[in-house]
């Protein structure tokens, strides 16, 4: 458990964070730029002074009341910087060795060979950082950070410098980091998609304050967090089970809360697999009667559990529930009035497109 109760100011900006984060799996730290995400990480690492307390498990890293402050190099935290900060004067192998050789042998569970295998680094070992591509640098930096065998990792927008293609190349490695090496991580991003994909929990920051802290699904469903999550591709993450593939139509059939759904075929999946799906709010429409003669194939029964209208917006964010799982829909205010939509009403949910996110182990 990471217990944070700190405040600090940088010029005009004030960061005031009081929260507890369980240290298992990946916790996404989400918020618009300037919300204090990076500052929070820097305070945790000891690079930025702050008032208050930081306690990791039973270890006090900072307690300004008792004048306790652990030096950055004694904090068991792995920091993956946005700009990787590989040492230009050392080869890739020497960069990895730099971290590994400074780790106490009694806590050394992850060794150089492990990360070289897991992150496919063997062709890069003799190169200098200047000779690596952006994606390769990120892989080396992630591996180097892991070699300190930290209690937890912090990743500061590791993908922000990469293009779309590179991002999807790196994401599996970040999954590897969490699953194979079992190192908990705080993953800072302003991209909801990334965080929804990999994070179990989300800490939403806005203006230097914690807005919410909870399981990913709940946070993405929260309609009052739109200034944090809604600026981006607002949507929901739902869990489903694979039924089978319909080869002829190149579709995969799924079951979600007892109802059938189809998505573009993912040949890697097998019947019975548990998966996560992402559905963008703007791809979801609502109807009062089951539409017929329509191209949309995914039509499900649900109940409206929440409606939220931001002042001045033409849209209403609706939250609908199947049996247990919930989905966000972005519909117009005009539709809500025309159809007299209200909380508790039974509706048909029309889902235009579904994106496969990840398999659940």
């Amino acid at each position: 458990m990471l217990a944070i109760d700190i405040c600090t100011s940088l010029g005009e900006f004030e960061l005031e964070v009081t929260t507890k984060i369980p240290l298992d799996g990946i916790t996404g730290i989400l918020g618009p730029s300037g919300s204090g995400k990076t500052t929070l990480l820097r305070v945790l690492a000891g690079f930025e002074p702050a008032e208050g307390r930081i306690i990791v498990d039973d270890e006090v890293w900072l307690d300004t009341k008792s004048k306790t402050e652990i030096a950055p190099h004694r904090r068991s935290l792995g920091y993956m910087f946005q700009d990787t900060r590989l040492f230009d004067h050392l080869s890739v192998a020497a960069n990895l060795e730099y971290a590994s050789s400074r780790t106490l042998s009694e806590i050394k569970k992850i060794v150089v060979d492990d990360v070289v295998d897991a992150f496919d680094l063997s062709p890069l070992l003799k190169r200098r950082p200047a000779e690596l591509s952006g994606g390769e640098k990120q892989r080396v930096a992630l591996a180097r950070t892991l070699l300190t065998n930290p209690r937890f990792l912090v990743l500061d927008e590791p993908l922000s410098a990469l293009d779309e293609q590179r991002r999807s190349d790196i994401l599996p490695y970040i999954d590897t980091m969490a699953s194979q090496f079992q190192v908990p991580a705080l993953y800072v991003s302003h991209a909801v998609g990334e965080v929804a994909h990999i994070a179990r929990r989300i800490l939403a920051l806005s203006n230097g304050r914690v807005q919410a802290n909870g399981p990913t699904n709940e946070i993405l469903e929260r309609l009052d967090l739109l200034d944090v999550t809604g600026r981006f591709e607002a949507g929901s993450v739902v869990e489903a089970t694979v039924i089978d593939h319909v080869e002829r139509h190149r579709l995969t059939r799924l079951i979600i809360d007892g109802q059938t759904l189809t998505m573009p075929m993912e040949p890697g999946l097998a019947p019975g697999d548990q998966i996560r799906l992402r559905v963008r709010a703007r791809d979801v429409a609502l109807a009062l009667i089951r539409p017929e003669s329509i191209s949309i194939r995914n039509i499900l029964d649900a109940t409206i559990v929440d409606l939220f209208h931001g002042p001045g917006s033409p849209y209403v964010e609706a939250l609908v529930e199947f049996q247990k799982q919930r989905l966000r829909a972005r519909i117009t205010l005009a539709s809500v009035e025309d159809l007299s939509l209200a909380v508790g009403m039974h509706v048909f949910v029309l889902i235009k497109s579904v994106t496969f996110e990840s398999s659940l182990a």
Partner: protein
């Protein structure tokens, strides 16, 4: 023979001065590149003073400070039995002060160029601040070190005014190349003056050519 003694003495003086400055100059440059203290501009100005002061002014004050009539000078006599003025030790002290900016400024520039980012990375990889200095900051500043060492050595070789004021002209003790040349000219031994001058000219040109070829990133400046 006379000339060889002067050259040997000069090389000794420049080497000792450079070694001492490599230690103190690095520490001072590191502090200047990292500190947020308000005294920083004052220390920087004091460090740069030898660049603008006439060597005679610096030499004059050093002569007074080192004189056995004053605390430091008499302490030295008490310690070693000989005076600091008109001795090799006195020349070293004077050269260290006179050449200080030539060591500090390129290093400070280099350290500022390295910045805090690689050092934070080193700390996150469990390197202590001292360890991070030796394993990250120093290698990344290698060119700055090269510039600083070469300039300090060359500048010490070329000094005249301070040496004359503090050390005088004692063969084998304080008569360095520049003093020897002066001596030759005074006694109208132009041939001897020529050979030493030409050697110094060649040396200085080669050194500067080396520095400018290797890098122009860490210039000397007065600010």
């Amino acid at each position: 023979m006379n000339n060889l003694a002067a050259i040997w003495l000069t090389v000794q003086l420049a080497t000792v001065t450079t070694c001492i400055l490599l230690f103190f100059g690095t520490a001072l440059a590191w502090w200047l590149s990292r500190t947020k203290s308000r005294t920083k501009p004052i220390i920087e100005a004091v460090t740069a003073l030898p660049l603008v002061l006439p060597p005679t002014v610096l030499g004059f004050y050093l002569l007074i400070i080192m004189s056995p009539d004053n605390a430091i000078g008499s302490f030295w006599v008490h310690l070693t039995g000989s005076t600091l003025t008109f001795s090799f030790a006195g020349l070293v002290v004077a050269s260290v002060i006179y050449s200080l900016p030539f060591m500090v400024q390129p290093l400070q520039n280099a350290f500022e160029t390295v910045g805090s980012e690689p050092l934070e990375a080193a700390a996150s990889l469990r390197a202590s601040p001292l360890n991070a200095f030796f394993t990250v900051a120093m290698p990344l500043s290698a060119r700055g070190f090269l510039t600083a060492i070469v300039l300090t050595f060359a500048h010490t070789v070329g000094e005249f005014g301070v040496v004359l004021m503090v050390g005088g002209n004692i063969p084998g003790e304080t008569r360095v190349i520049s003093i020897a040349i002066y001596e030759h000219v005074e006694t109208l031994q132009y041939a001897a003056a020529h050979s030493l001058s030409l050697a110094l000219l060649g040396f200085s040109f080669v050194v500067l050519l080396a520095v400018y070829t290797l890098n122009r990133r860490f210039p000397i400046r007065i600010r």
